[in-house]
């Protein structure tokens, strides 16, 4: 544990997620954190990433502040193509063409299944109204099914990292092992869960998410405490390099409104 770093946990999470993106990939991003992580990668190490949003707004770079949505005028202002959801999510994502997708989660479980639909308190026996209604799947289900690799970004809190999600909005590895293969999805499933504390990756056989590394301000113990299942640790797990000056400069150039610097 070093002295207080000169970057926030949100910034570290965005940079760690951005590091997962490779140059030249066809990648799909959502709004907020996901967009920042994606455009950070483009500004830093993946200048040829082909970024799309599920709204079918192509070729756009955000202008005039953080877009409020993926069809916000802050993206429409310099787009080179407007198409449709069927095109972006169907032709390019569900089809299996998209290399990489970034999605968020209200809850995630040990097999990387994501809930963004609602909180019932447990998985409901009878499908009545939720205690708290969330946003539903949106296009995340298509990304989780169709993208070759999916990265889940989520704030690392015990209430979010649960043994079993209340509702599977977007499939990870379902019950684990080869359960996902029953459905023949075009995409390979989640390759990482990038959090505000570290990175979890799936065990190659059981597909259970194990701790792969922690950030310089965090530790394996802190992450285990903030995880709702008995988190196993890969033998190779260790400290993840903090952002270097170039990474921070690239992220802050993209995050011009300072969205990620507001939260500690």
């Amino acid at each position: 544990m070093s002295a207080t770093p000169d970057y926030t946990r949100q910034e570290m999470m965005a940079i760690a997620a951005g590091r997962e993106i490779r140059d030249g990939e066809l990648a799909i991003f959502g709004v907020g954190l996901s967009l920042l992580a994606g455009y950070f990668a483009k500004a830093h190490h993946a200048p040829n990433v082909r970024a799309i949003t599920e709204g079918g707004v192509y070729g756009a770079t955000p202008m005039g502040g953080m877009p409020w949505g993926i069809e916000c005028n802050r993206l429409a202002v310099n787009a080179t193509s407007f198409t449709s959801g069927l095109d972006a999510l169907g032709f390019l994502v569900a089809s299996g063409r998209c290399d990489f997708g970034l999605i968020g989660a209200a809850q995630v479980d040990r097999h990387g299944n994501v809930n963004t639909t609602g909180i019932w308190g447990e998985r409901p026996q009878r499908f009545g109204p939720p205690r708290t209604r969330l946003t539903g799947s949106g296009g995340a289900n298509e990304i989780a099914c169709g993208a070759k690799r999916t990265v889940i970004m989520v704030s690392h809190e015990k209430k979010r990292f649960v043994e079993q999600v209340d509702y599977i909005s977007s499939p990870g590895y379902l019950e684990g092992g080869d359960a996902r293969e029953r459905y023949g999805f075009a995409g390979g499933g989640p390759s990482a869960i990038v959090t505000t504390l570290g990175i979890l990756r799936p065990h190659p056989e059981t597909r259970e998410f194990w701790l792969d590394g922690w950030f310089e301000f965090s530790s394996a113990e802190e992450i285990r405490t903030a995880t709702g299942w008995a988190l196993k640790v890969f033998p190779h797990a260790g400290r993840i390099p903090p952002p270097d000056g170039e990474e921070l400069a690239a992220l802050r150039q993209v995050d011009e409104t300072g969205m990620l610097r507001r939260k500690g």
Binding site: A76, I168, A186
Partner: protein
């Protein structure tokens, strides 16, 4: 549907918003909004007019929630809603929808953002079902708000076998809404429409719906459509009526025309978070205007000028020479109002 409204003349399908809602909507109908994403274009003003005319028990089909479904849900006008996304993107959770769902008043049937356009496509092609390789294996398939005791749900996205590979996939039910009220940036009086921005699913929806009404920011001369026929994704042959209502997407954005009103997006959603707030919002922003001028005054002249000063305005430059002036649009709509009153008297049949 209580009556079949007589068709408007092919060369002029312009009518006013209140008449469109009166003619083409009814309690309990399957109502679809033709919109972009929650922050993008949607004819939210059409939803306000549905409430002004007291429409209720609606079965709404929205690709994504917007402030329109948030408002209709918060006001208690929806019994059912099927959608792929129920939030407001950067503006957070949709409070009116949330209240209605959590109280059990509104049954929300969850799909995904690809499942909805596929279902519209199925309706448009008159297919019995649409095969899907997404949504299967997740709880979108296993849980149905319409059959809460049946877990896993058997009738929502039933498994079907691919006859070629033998693989198990899912069957999506096609959608044929009674009406699609579709936001377009430009329409001519005949009903040809040009969308600026993502189509989202308005192309498929326009073919799936039993009736289509366009709500346009600008009415243009048909010569505009002859100049850009490739851009006319909604042709007049499938359109019943055209409504001109500036800022119909307010407080959301219409690319090329105006930005999102961030202050009102937040204020509206906050109001819809409680019954009292919703009542106050309805009094002011749904029942609080008598006509278009009063609606525009509610948004505010300075505010409208600021919203219209959008960096996307250049997108409309190629089309401005064909904009019809307000007097001409209102004269065309008035001609139809006079005509249909006479025809209605002759053809209307009791429910």
């Amino acid at each position: 549907m209580s009556t079949t409204p007589p068709a408007l003349p092919a060369d002029n399908r312009l009518i006013d918003l209140a008449s469109a809602v009166q003619r083409y909507t009814f309690d309990g109908m399957q109502y679809a909004a033709g919109a972009a994403l929650p922050v993008g274009a949607d004819a939210i003003a059409f939803g306000r007019e549905l409430l002004r005319q007291g429409r209720r028990n609606l079965h709404a089909l929205f690709h994504c929630n917007s402030q329109q479904s948030n408002l209709l849900a918060g006001a208690g006008a929806l019994d059912k809603l099927e959608c792929g996304f129920s939030g407001l993107e950067g503006f957070g959770f949709a409070n009116g929808l949330r209240r209605a769902v959590e109280s059990g008043q509104l049954l929300l049937e969850d799909y995904s953002n690809l499942a909805m356009p596929l279902r519209f496509l199925g309706g448009a092609l008159n297919w019995p079902f649409v095969p899907t390789t997404t949504c299967i294996g997740s709880d979108i398939q296993h849980f149905s708000a319409y059959a809460p005791d049946e877990v896993p749900a058997r009738g929502k996205i039933p498994p079907v076998r691919d006859p070629f590979s033998g693989r198990e996939i899912g069957a999506l039910s096609p959608l044929r809404p009674d009406l699609a009220a579709i936001h377009v940036t430009l329409a001519d009086p005949r009903g040809n429409g040009i969308l600026i921005g993502s189509e989202w699913s308005r192309f498929e929806l326009s073919r799936a719906a039993r009736r289509v009404v366009l709500i346009a920011d600008h009415i243009v001369d048909t010569d505009c459509m002859r100049q850009y026929p490739n851009l006319v994704r909604i042709p007049d042959v499938i359109v019943e009526a055209v409504v001109w209502w500036p800022f119909s997407a307010w407080p959301a954005a219409s690319p090329g025309v105006h930005d999102a009103d961030e202050t009102h997006m937040k204020r509206m959603n906050e109001a819809l978070g409680s019954a009292e707030g919703t009542a106050a919002y309805l009094a002011e922003y749904v029942h609080g205007y008598a006509d278009l001028d009063a609606y525009l005054a509610l948004i505010g002249e300075d505010n409208r000028r600021a919203l219209a000063d959008t960096a996307t305005a250049f997108l409309l430059d190629p089309y401005r020479r064909w904009f019809l002036p307000r007097e001409r649009i209102e004269a065309l709509a008035a001609a139809n109002l006079a005509g249909t009153s006479a025809r209605n008297a002759a053809t209307e049949v009791p429910a």
